[in-house]
Amino acid sequence: MASSVVSPVEIPKPQTNKGRLRLRETLVGYMFIAPNMLVFAIWVLFPVLFTFLLSFAEWDFITGLDAIEFVGLENYAELPNDIWFVDSVKNTFLFTLGVVPAQIALGLLFALIMNNQIYVAPAIRAMLFMPYITSPIAVAAVWLSLFNPRGGPINQFLYQIGIQDLPGWLASSDWALVALIIIGIWSGLGYNALIFIAGLQSVPDELYESAEIDGAGLWAKFWNVTFPMISPTTFFLLITGVISSFRVFELVAVMTQGGPGTSTTVLAYHVYRTGFVFYRMGYASTIAVALLVIVFIFTLIQWYLNQRYTRFMRPD
């Protein structure tokens, strides 16, 4: 976090005028966050704390609260021996690695193109955004048909361009995750592009003009002006992109149910299955906590790196 934030040690002294102002600000601050925090505490914080507690217990949720049986660290000890957990950590990492950088790079590329005054830009923007609002089950059905290893359009195309050894896509444990990554990129692209377009629009023209006076070419302008100026946007998309791809669930649930084999079993899906198919809500919570820890470490690293290299989160 920002370095110049007020730490709790600096609690204002009420007897001075400045102190009174400080106290006032503190009160106003708490009042302003109160409505938000009330809802947040009831519907998010409390369930999360409950999950944390459950991670030390065995529980089938239909048996009622009385039946929660605390087992200490047993659930955590089970993690490394859990065949699905190990695979799902690997798959989730691969998915994130496949989706997030590509989504950001392509999103930026499209945004640059769109920003260059192409025709019918509003219509194209709307088209790019469509995956975001199309019914997920329709999306799944269409991609299943497109990826059909025999006779699906994608493999027909690959065959036409002379590829002999056609991938089995969702039917093959080597390709299923690749297929999901492609769909993941596809569905998040419009959203990323949209945010980049906005970011680009706000880069002051003067910066480009002065770069041109210095004789900068296209690449130099991108690298010296565009890229640093939009890095806060990039950072936002990176953080939210990593969080959402670590939580990817629906895509797997409707397309592959984790298969073939365990090739597309991801963490959130494993959490769900453990809690609601294997009826082990306690252990499901343990996996959820593990996921939280992994992603939070990542977020903190990103935060720290960003803190060092950009002006993001500049305190006022």
Binding site: D60, F61, I62, T63, G64, A67, E74, E78, N81, D82, I83, A141, L144, S145, F147, N148, P149, R150, G151, G152, G168, W169, L170, A171, S172, S173, G258, G259, P260, G261, T262, Y272, R273, F276, V277, F278, Y279, Y283
Partner: protein, 436 residues
């Protein structure tokens, strides 16, 4: 002293109950909610039937989907006060789990003369001396066969067969080798291999080699045989629609079979709903029937398929008395409404002939599309019993590792031998945390 307390408690209970009973007669009709997941129309017919004859107890249908989310929804609603009165669980494991969690009301008190052992031939719904419900449905599995294709191929449908004979038969019904030619057979969209094993070993022994559910039974050679059988049907002999085509093309048994893209399908009686729905599944060929093939000459040891529609009264129901009455009617006489749609009853009160007649007369002219001799012989073959599972903990996990591996076998990524090795190893791993 204790006796006195008990007696007074009992008296209070009886008093309260009679009060409730009196009230429900005087006041407005009681509304009870039935949660079910099968096709709406037959269920609604049953409910209309009941409502007509029981003006004081009006039933209402709430449909849920029998998938993971749907079952979670049922589970949470069962925890809430007064949401559900009667509910149907699909799969005995779901029923047992809900009973064990205290989400089913014991029925002895409300239905003292309801003898399920006598009327349903199973004591599986009696747990710890208390009765918790009954199976509405008996769903046999068998092979649906396109009679016209059989005649064109000059074949005759046998009365029993092994998988080897079946494969030959399917080969004769396969036209062309391409993926979009007519195949001999389509198997269900789930691995189905564990079902095949259970027809020989019975439900418990399919998964477990011991009595306490801590040792998996994947060592049994039938597992490898079952996996190998489906693999060969699809990839070696290429007489069956492949598993990956089913998944990729969102294929359903009925969609493929009635569209004549496969000349046989293996499934349960739920497919009759499509057979008689000529708007959605137009076809003009006659369907005949044969039993599910077996691994050895003497047929499957158990009747393929199983009991279903496990009906119970919710523990949190506000009207358990009325709900119990409805339940009893629903799984017995009321089930006739479902039989007319091809969902056959488990109640011994229905003779096979009655069930067949009820169905055939309800469907009118469409009955001509059914080979009635084979229908009566195969579908209502009660010479063997369904197997019934009594162990459920760990089954979802074993079933999951099995379906993970089965997919790889069917696509040829893994041999059935490697698959069984992996299953044995993983079976141990997933049961370990449950058996400490």
């Amino acid at each position: 002293m204790r006796t006195l307390v008990r007696i007074s408690l009992l008296l209070t209970l009886i008093f309260t109950l009679s009060l409730v009973a009196v009230q429900s007669q005087d006041d407005e009709p009681v509304t009870i909610r039935l949660w079910a997941a099968s096709a709406t129309e037959p269920l609604q017919n049953a409910i209309d039937d009941w409502n007509e004859n029981n003006p004081n107890i009006q039933a209402e249908l709430v449909r849920y989907s029998n998938n993971n989310e749907g079952n979670t929804r049922l589970d949470t609603a069962l925890l809430a006060e007064g949401e559900i009165d009667v509910y149907i669980s699909y799969g005995l494991a779901n029923f047992r789990r809900r009973v064990d969690a205290g989400l089913a009301e014991p029925l002895n008190e409300y239905l003292p003369d309801f003898d399920v052992i006598e009327e349903f031939g199973t004591d599986i719904t009696i747990i710890g001396d208390m009765l918790y419900g009954a199976p509405g449905q008996g769903q046999p599995y068998f092979v649906y066969i396109n009679q016209n294709a059989v005649e064109e191929a000059g074949l005759e449908v046998p009365e029993s067969w092994t998988w080897e004979e079946f494969t030959e038969f399917a080969a004769a019904l396969t036209e062309g080798a391409g993926p979009f030619d007519t195949k001999g057979v389509i198997l269900p969209g789930w691995p189905y291999t564990s079902d095949l094993v259970s027809y020989e070993l019975g439900a418990d022994a399919t998964w477990f080699a011991d009595d306490i559910g801590c040792v998996a039974n994947f060592d049994n050679p039938l597992w490898q045989e079952a996996l190998q059988t489906r693999f060969e049907l699809e990839q070696v002999d290429q007489v069956a629609v492949t598993f990956s085509d089913i998944q990729a093309g969102q294929l359903t048994l009925q969609g493929v079979f009635f569209n004549e893209e496969a000349n046989m399908m293996i499934g349960g009686t739920w497919l009759f709903a499509s057979l008689i729905d000529l708007d959605e599944y137009p076809h003009d060929f006659v369907t005949t029937f044969a039993p599910v093939p077996s691994f050895d000459e003497d047929g499957n040891d158990f009747r393929p398929g199983g009991l279903g529609d496990w009906t119970a009264v919710a523990a949190n129901s506000n009207h358990p008395e009325e709900a119990a009455q409805f339940l009893r009617w629903f799984v017995t006489d009321g089930y006739l409404n479902l039989i007319e749609s091809g969902r056959f009853g488990a109640w011994k009160g229905f003779t096979p002939e009655e069930q067949a007649d009820a169905f055939l007369s309800a469907i009118g002219d469409t009955a001509e599309l059914i080979d009635q001799e084979a229908f009566a012989r195969v579908v209502f073959d009660t010479s063997k019993d369904f197997s019934v599972a009594t162990m459920s903990e760990g089954v979802p996990q074993l079933s999951q590792i099995h379906s993970d591996v089965a997919q790889l076998v069917f696509s040829g990524e893994l041999t059935s031998e490697e698959a069984v090795e992996r299953l044995t190893e993983q079976g141990e791993a997933v049961l370990a945390p449950l058996c400490e």
